[in-house]
């Protein structure tokens, strides 16, 4: 049974050629994800949750992955950490962390790296932490898995970190259970747990979605400070464009398991070129601008990952599909490689810029 699965995974990895003129091997990149594919076979069909995502991330930088529910952003982050069960998920492509490939590495090796060199901050700290153990015990365990130190040393480290993430009276609160912490403090404790081994890569999956705005501001501030201090690479996964704009240097927009646009934060907010990115910006009420009469929503609903629309997955919702005979329904647009701005759209680049400048930007 196990062997059969292994071979299917292998054949999947090897027979799938890397499509298009993707970014070549980048020996300098700290995290280099190449054509990551994560598919789940189900009774209803193959769910292509992530279907060819590539990006690089350097130490000290923050990459924001933005998308709606079901766009594949969380699955991507779990894939990098190697948290998908091999029996249920087909994982293909390559993930290079500081020169080491993780998809083909043994589960033992990935386990050594997980928690030590790469760590995760989950959305809901109440379910991510064990209710039966004290906060301190959970941080101590995370530290001792990777360091041969006594419990007393590890406990001191836990207290240090709780203080560092802004928990008042850390020496006392270290013996509290998760339910005795408020939502914001639990999220701080989880950040402390993620940071206990000084990871180089920090993945934050919707770290502030469950929190109120004032607490969200505290947590984003904390992540920013800690990144400055430890110089880690941060992968920030969120549906909230405001949160990415606060934190990210670069942004990758996902739709239907693929990347539709990538570029620097400035580029993505100042001159986005993909109609889906325009739609997201038009859908968003702004607290910092004059009120618009109506929002400009994207029509329809996000697609099912089992049965993605043919060609460009966004075409059924796109007001520009089929314009001037472009093959939106039949051909999957490749992520055209500009120097630093990738857009997967069939509309000609000059035309995209014109549409944005003349039709989209004035209405935002």
């Amino acid at each position: 049974m196990k062997g059969a699965h292994m071979s299917s995974t292998n054949s999947f990895t090897t027979t799938d050629p890397v499509p298009g003129p993707r970014r070549g091997p980048d020996p300098t990149a700290f995290l280099d994800v190449r054509d990551l594919r994560i598919h789940f076979p189900t009774d209803d069909g193959l769910v292509k949750a992530v279907d060819g995502i590539s990006f690089t991330l350097e130490r000290g930088r923050t990459l924001g992955i933005v998308g709606e529910s079901g766009s594949g952003k969380s699955v991507t982050s779990l894939g990098i950490l190697g948290l998908h069960q091999r029996e249920h998920a087909r994982v293909g492509g390559e993930v290079w962390l500081d020169g080491e490939e993780l998809i083909s590495a043994s589960p033992e090796r990935v386990r050594q790296l997980r928690g030590q060199r790469m760590a995760m901050i989950f959305q809901d700290p109440l379910t991510a932490m064990h209710p039966y153990f004290t906060v301190g015990a959970q941080i101590v365990e995370a530290y001792r898995v990777h360091h041969r130190v006594s419990k007393a040393v590890a406990r001191k480290r836990a207290v240090d970190l709780l203080g560092r993430v802004g928990i008042p009276q850390p020496a006392k609160r270290v013996d509290d259970y998760p339910h005795q912490f408020s939502g914001g403090m639990r999220q701080r404790a989880m950040i402390a747990m993620a940071l206990v081994n000084n990871p180089d890569l920090l993945i934050a999956d919707e770290p502030t979605t469950a929190l109120d705005v004032t607490v969200q501001a505290q947590i984003l501030d904390l992540i920013r400070d800690l990144q400055e201090e430890f110089g880690s690479a941060v992968l920030m996964i969120t549906h909230d464009l405001g949160v990415v704009a606060e934190l990210a240097d670069d942004i990758l927009v996902m739709y239907g398991g693929r990347c539709v646009e990538e570029g620097s934060a400035q580029t993505l907010f100042r001159r986005p070129e993909h109609p889906y990115a325009w739609g997201l910006l038009g859908s968003m009420p702004r607290v910092d601008r004059e009120n618009r009469d109506r929002l400009i929503p994207i029509k329809g609903t996000p697609p099912s990952l089992i049965n993605l629309p043919s060609g460009c997955a966004f075409h059924p919702r796109c007001p520009y599909q089929g314009r001037d005979g472009i093959p939106c329904r039949t051909e999957v647009p490749s992520l055209a490689q500009g120097s630093d701005h990738g857009v997967a759209c069939h509309i000609a680049p000059a035309e995209r810029r014109r549409i944005f400048a003349e039709d989209i930007a004035p209405a935002l």
Partner: protein, 369 residues
Amino acid sequence: MSTTTSTERAAARPATDDLLQVTGLEKHFPITRGAFIRRTVGAVRAVDGIDFTVRSGETLGLVGESGCGKSTTGRLISRLLEPTGGKVVFEGRDISHLSNREMRPLRREVQMIFQDPYSSLNPRHTVGTIVGAPFRVQDIPTSQGVKRAVQDLLKLVGLNPEHYNRYPHEFSGGQRQRIGIARALALRPKLIVADEPVSALDVSIQAQVVNLLGDLQRELNLTYVFIAHDLSVVKHISDRVAVMYLGKIVEVAPRDALYATPMHPYTLALLSAVPVPDPDRRDRAQRERILLTGDVPSPIDPPSGCRFRTRCWKARELCEREVPPLRELATGHVVACHFPVEEAERTPGGRAAAQQAAASVPPATTTPV
């Protein structure tokens, strides 16, 4: 305390166009101990003496963080809960303590839209049954039958009328929320209390539902109480906004006035914390952001005087001693603060000073519940 403020407020405004008047409204949930002999050992003061009015045809936004009592307020004015104290007056009639039977005819006038479109629709009922239920419960004659009436409602909210016989699980989140809206509209209510109606939805779908709510309001002359924690959505949809903190209303103002010139320190901090979707402005936003220390105190044992004083950088001895009454400081702009925010504090320099002052407030050490 609440009675004096309510009389002040009532005197300040003609009552003619008010659809709903709330005065001194309180809801305390008892905390009990003991299995056989239950005794009350305390109370969660979820809503603790609030006053506001809702005018006919307007949208009143009700914002605040989790646990501030905004949802409880929504349930009190739609009388899903009975208040512990104070009054809810709907169209000149005191409905605070009406029995279920007495409330029933009034349910036609006040309807709710709930947050979670997954748990607010019965999974075993078809859309037709769900949206048609109000007609049956209220025994309302429909000229061309319930089915036709339901199909008209489905069309009104942008759903396919042929989906009459489908079950909720066959719809996406946004479509389910439309079903909930259709149900709320069935009896042509005057007032709709929408409790976080778009927070469970994706951005692109959220915009569709927000637009739908706006269109329906214009078309059917509805009045909304829009409860939400998302300050951008509230800004988009509301005419006036009320800000709550720990069971109290701290500020009520016309929308533009509240966002441009917040007068309560809490409102100022809350607005400054909203992430701005503009990377070019993030440095400025961060310089001017007022980060509050610590957490919201427990509503079981709220601070004396002003409830925000434990986190407020402007708090003085008076704030500890006296509950600040809601005072009208500009036209229609009422604030419950002894030391409201002044113009100088809204300038970049003033904000930077406020930021430093707020950061130096020692965080309260009480364990939150």
